[in-house]
């Protein structure tokens, strides 16, 4: 498998100039550069991690890059997903990434998979590559990538981020541990906030993604000591790196097939919060607007987002009571007092947290109505001057 067969690979004069700084490194040299050209890497996700990964793997001269993503570029991606530019907003990420990769290195072959990686397509897609880089943003896909790599015997270069902290390692390489040795069980849904919910400092995926790219280049060229068996932890606030040794767990159940990873991780096919949102009465933003325009006096609109979010955008007239204060019970009596004699409506960004707030309030006998789609729907359908984030 690795290193790739270089017997039929030649570098053109243009490539020799382009990669000259690699060619004069004794560790890489002509043979290493040929290995890079002969190699193929699949990047799952072209977001925060996938962006720097693909940029550097393309620049380094990897011959073939595969990209799996079904998302389109959004303005809120640009703070960290540096492979995409403003002119690509609204267009498929994989197309944006391909255009940028060819700008950096026109010799690179780019294969696009505009799909979610699933148990039905993962083996077929991954089988065609030497190495997989995991740049996904959710647990079901991480377990899927891991298991497919184990079944196919492919190294899995892993990275993951949270606000100011990151992790990276190499899984399933030469008998080393895999993701299930690190995290045998997924966390309960909702325990770990996503970047969209928790925020992330923009340079963080750059650092972790480039560590992944470095590991991929080392695996391909066969140099150095890989991160296999070591989980690298990075803390941007302290600017410190730590390492934790990881061994394969002999008691880990054998991975012999792909499973239903949504079920395994306890999440439905729905977006976070959607399940809760289905269990409480709802109102559309247009209906809410009509109510507010009619009579605001006997209506209480509660905003359960965080104060930082309320600084970005608000629906006029809403009272801020963050969800954690409701779930802790701290603010229940405040809400009861405010809502006394009024009809209660609750909103958040997208409708998930407000549904949770209503479930918590309901346990204390306080009934209310969820604003479907949250302030995001409000800015799209009612007032475009309210910024989206």
């Amino acid at each position: 498998m690795l290193p790739p067969d270089t017997s039929a690979v030649q570098l053109s004069p243009d490539e020799v100039v382009r990669f000259s700084r690699h060619l004069i490194l004794p560790e890489i040299g002509m043979e290493g550069q040929k290995r890079l050209k002969a190699a193929s890497v699949l990047c799952v996700g072209t977001g925060g991690l996938g962006s720097p990964l693909l940029l550097y793997l393309a620049a380094a001269g990897v011959g073939r890059l595969g990209i799996v993503d079904f998302d389109v570029v959004d303005h809120s991606n640009l703070q960290r997903q540096v492979i995409h530019g403003t002119s690509w907003v609204g267009k498929p990420k994989i197309e944006s990434a391909k255009a940028r990769i060819h700008e950096i290195n026109p010799h690179c072959q780019v294969d696009l998979y505009e799909t979610a990686l699933t148990s039905d397509n993962a083996l077929e897609i991954i089988a065609g590559y030497d190495i997989v880089c995991d740049g996904t943003d959710n647990f079901p896909t991480r377990y899927l990538v891991n298991d497919a790599c184990v079944l196919l015997g492919k190294p899995n270069v892993y990275g993951s981020i949270f606000r100011f902290e990151g992790q990276a390692t190499v899984f399933n390489f030469e008998g080393g541990p895999n993701y299930r040795d690190l995290f045998p069980e997924p966390p309960p849904p909702g325990m770990v906030p996503s970047c969209a919910e928790g925020g992330v400092v923009g340079v963080l995926p750059g650092i972790i993604g480039m560590i992944q790219a470095t590991e991929a280049v080392k695996l391909i060229t066969g140099i150095g000591t890989s991160l296999s068996g070591r989980l690298l932890l990075f803390d941007a606030l302290k600017m410190s790196f730590r390492e934790l040794k990881l061994r394969p767990n002999p008691e880990r159940p054998v991975i012999d097939r792909l499973i239903d990873y949504q079920e395994f991780c306890g999440v439905g096919g729905s977006a976070p919060g959607q399940e809760e949102a289905g269990s409480v009465p709802t109102i559309t933003v247009a209906e809410l607007k009509t109510l507010i325009d009619g009579q605001m006096e006997d209506l209480l609109l509660v905003d359960v987002r965080n104060p930082q979010e309320a600084e970005i955008a608000v629906i006029p007239g809403a009272v801020l009571v963050p969800l954690d204060r409701i779930e802790s019970g701290e603010a229940i009596e405040d809400v009861r007092r405010l809502a006394n004699g009024k009809r209660l409506y609750v909103h958040c960004k997208l409708g998930g947290r407000s549904a949770k707030a209503l479930i918590a309030l309901g346990r204390h006998g306080i009934e209310g109505v969820n604003v479907q789609g949250g302030i995001d729907a409000w800015s799209q359908e009612v007032d475009p001057d309210v910024p989206r984030y």
Partner: protein, 101 residues
Amino acid sequence: MPQAQSTQTPMTQQAGTVVRVRLFAALRERAGWGERLIRLDAGTATPVALWRQLALEVSPNSHATDLPPSIRVAINQAFATADTPLRPGDEVAFLPPITGG
């Protein structure tokens, strides 16, 4: 910003086992600290017992007394099982999964 705090406890045999605890990601944020010296209560000195003693918040307003299976333990910079005996001066890290990308 949460600062690492330490209760500079002298380590003596009589005083009971003192270990250095490190928390990461959301565990660190919810606890408000990332590193502390902790004197273990009397009883079995294991990460599981330490976890019960710390009574940390695992998800918003939910305190789990039993160590959730999704949180991993590392002792002296190596992943270990949660029932591994702790010795004075050990560094115990509790690491929740993260998945941003």
